[in-house]
C-alpha cells in the first residue's frame, strides 16, 4: 500500500515544484487536502453520472432517438476527446487518493480493538455505516468500468472472440442494438447489477461526505444535505438499474 502511494504521488511531487500552483499542490499532500481533492473529483464524477444517465435514458425512447443522441455526441469530435481525458483524469485522481488515504488510516491504527461499538444513536450500520464499504464498492465500480468501456466503446470482448455481438461498436454499427445486446449478456447482467448496487452504497456516503469535507455544514441545511445526498445517490443507482432491466425486456 505504501509503495503504491509513493508511485501515485510522484506526478504530484513534480507539480509541487511549479511556480504559482505549488502551494495548492502541496496542500494535496496533507490529509485534509487529499480529502478535499477526493470530494471535488467525486462530485465531478457525480456530475458526469447525472448527464450520462440522462443521455442513456433515451434508450427507453427508442432506437432513433438514442442513436441520434450518440451521433450528436460524437460530432463534437475533439471536444469530446478532451472531455473524456478529463473524465479519465478525475477517475485516476480519485482512485490514487483512495489508495493514499486508506494507507494513511491503516498506518494510523496498526493494532485493532478486540471489540468496537458505535455510540451514535442514529446509525443503521455501526462502525461507520456505508463509509466502511467505500474501498470495496470503489473497486467494484472500477472493475465494472473496465468491462463497460471495453464493451460499449471498443467492443473488445467481441473483437477478442469471447462474445458474438453482431451490431458492431459505437463508431461503425448500430449503437442502440449493440447496447441492447450487451445488456442481454449473462456476464454483463451479473457485473452491472453488483456494481450498480455498489454505486448506490458508495454515493450514499460519498455525496453528503463530500459536502462536509468541503465545509458545507450548517444546522439549518444538514438534514437537506444528508437527505438530498442519499436521495441523489439512489436516484442515480436506480436510474441506471432501470437500464439494466432493459436487458431482460424483448
Amino acid at each position: 500500500m505504501d509503495l503504491l502511494c509513493k508511485i501515485c504521488s510522484w506526478p504530484a511531487c513534480l507539480l509541487a515544484r511549479l511556480p504559482g500552483i505549488g502551494p495548492i499542490v502541496k496542500m494535496c499532500f496533507t490529509s485534509i487536502g487529499q480529502k478535499i481533492l477526493m470530494a471535488l473529483t467525486g462530485l465531478a464524477l457525480v456530475g458526469f453520472l447525472v448527464t450520462h444517465l440522462a443521455g442513456n435514458l433515451l434508450l427507453f425512447k427508442g432506437e432513433e432517438q438514442f442513436n441520434t443522441y450518440a451521433e450528436n455526441l460524437h460530432s463534437l469530435g475533439g471536444a469530446l476527446v478532451v472531455a473524456e481525458v478529463g473524465l479519465f483524469g478525475a477517475f485516476a485522481v480519485h482512485m490514487c487518493l483512495a489508495i493514499s488515504t486508506t494507507a494513511m488510516s491503516r498506518r494510523a491504527r496498526k493494532s485493532s480493538y478486540a471489540e468496537q461499538q458505535s455510540k451514535r444513536d442514529d446509525v443503521i450500520l455501526g462502525g461507520g455505516g456505508a463509509s466502511r464499504f467505500m474501498l470495496i464498492t470503489g473497486v467494484l465500480i472500477g472493475a465494472f468500468l473496465v468491462l463497460h468501456v471495453a464493451d460499449m466503446k471498443f467492443n473488445l470482448r467481441d473483437k477478442l472472440g469471447i462474445t458474438q455481438f453482431e451490431h458492431g461498436d459505437e463508431e461503425s454499427g448500430n449503437l442502440y442494438l449493440h447496447v441492447r445486446q450487451v445488456l442481454r449478456d449473462p456476464v454483463t447482467r451479473v457485473v452491472y447489477l453488483v456494481a450498480l448496487l455498489g454505486l448506490g452504497i458508495h454515493l450514499s456516503h460519498g455525496i453528503s461526505s463530500a459536502a462536509q469535507t468541503l465545509g458545507l455544514h450548517h444546522r439549518r441545511w444538514n438534514v437537506l444535505i444528508r437527505g438530498g445526498g442519499m436521495l441523489l445517490a439512489w436516484a442515480i443507482a436506480l436510474g441506471f438499474l432501470s437500464i439494466w432491466v432493459l436487458g431482460f425486456l424483448k
Binding site: 487529499q34 478535499i36 498506518r107 496498526k110 478486540a114 461499538q117 461507520g128 461526505s209 450548517h218 444546522r219
Partner: protein, 254 residues
C-alpha cells in the same frame, strides 16, 4: 439490597511496556457497589491485586470530575463506556448488570502508543497545540473586558469548541484514528474570536501539518467522534477547520 452489588468478569488489556506484547487477562470481581464510579471499581480490583501480590492495572486518571481529560479507556468497544457525554471517571457501575463481562482496552492509535496496560502517551496532542494552538499576544495588564466587542453567538460557538478536554476519545472512536475533531476544536475556538483570528492562517496550516506528522488518520465523516466526545464537541468544527484550511491554502497570503 442485593441489587446494589455486582459480580463482574473483567477482560483487561495487560501490557508491561511500550515495546512488549500485550494480551487480555480475565479477573473476577465481586461486591462491586452500583454507586461506584468505573475508576473506583478499578481501584477495588487493584487493591485486591496488590494484596495477592500481583501488579496492579495501570490506568490514567486525575481530577475524577470529568474536566481534566486524563481518563480514557475503551469499555466494551465504546470510548468512555456506554454513557453519552460522560468521561470514564463519571461513568457509574449502575450502568452494568450483575454477571456482565466488561472488556477494557486502551485507546488504540499509532500516535497514542501504549505506555503500560491501559495508559497511552497522548503527548501528540500537546505537540499539535504547540504548533499553533495559542494566541501570541503581549500580555500586559488585564485589558478592559468590553474593549473588544464579541457577538454573543460567536462567544457561544467559541466556548462550545473550547469545551474540548483533549482526552482523545475522538481518535479512539474513529475507524481511521483521525484527530480531526480535536484539532478542529482547537482551530475553531481561536479562529472565531477576534484575538485569535489574527493568526488563523498560519495556525490552521501548522496544526494540520503537525496532525499529519504525528500519524493520525484522515476524516471520513462517520461522526463517531462527535458521539464519543464526553463534552459533545460538534463536527461542525471539522467543517470549519476545512474551510479555514482551504482559505489558508488558496486565498490568504502571509
Amino acid at each position: 439490597m442485593s441489587g446494589d452489588t455486582l459480580t463482574l468478569t473483567l477482560r483487561i488489556w495487560r501490557q508491561n511496556g511500550p515495546n512488549e506484547a500485550g494480551g487480555f487477562r480475565e479477573y473476577r470481581l465481586s461486591g462491586v457497589s452500583t454507586h461506584m464510579s468505573f475508576l473506583e471499581m478499578l481501584d477495588v480490583l487493584n487493591e485486591q491485586l496488590i494484596e495477592s501480590g500481583e501488579e496492579p492495572v495501570a490506568f490514567d486518571h486525575d481530577c475524577r470530575e470529568g474536566i481534566c481529560g486524563m481518563c480514557s479507556l475503551m469499555i466494551n468497544g465504546q470510548a468512555h463506556g456506554p454513557d453519552k457525554a460522560t468521561t470514564t471517571c463519571q461513568l457509574h457501575m449502575r450502568q452494568f448488570a450483575d454477571g456482565d463481562t466488561i472488556t477494557i482496552e486502551p485507546w488504540r492509535a499509532t500516535a497514542f502508543p501504549v505506555v503500560r496496560d491501559l495508559v497511552t502517551d497522548r503527548s501528540a496532542f500537546d505537540r499539535i497545540i504547540s504548533a499553533g494552538g495559542y494566541v501570541s499576544v503581549n500580555t500586559g495588564n488585564a485589558p478592559d473586558g468590553n474593549s473588544i466587542p464579541v457577538p454573543g453567538h460567536q462567544q457561544e460557538k467559541a466556548m462550545d469548541a473550547a469545551a474540548c478536554i483533549g482526552c482523545g476519545a475522538c481518535v479512539a472512536a474513529c475507524k481511521n484514528a483521525s484527530a480531526s475533531l480535536f484539532v478542529s476544536a482547537k482551530v475553531s475556538q481561536l479562529a472565531i474570536l477576534p484575538q485569535g483570528s489574527q493568526e488563523r492562517t498560519s495556525r490552521v496550516l501548522d496544526m494540520v501539518n503537525q496532525m499529519d506528522e504525528e500519524g493520525f488518520g484522515h476524516c471520513t465523516n462517520t461522526y463517531e467522534c462527535e458521539a464519543a466526545c464526553p463534552v459533545e464537541v460538534s463536527v461542525s468544527n471539522i467543517a470549519r477547520m476545512n474551510r479555514e484550511y482551504i482559505r489558508a491554502s488558496i486565498v490568504a497570503g502571509e
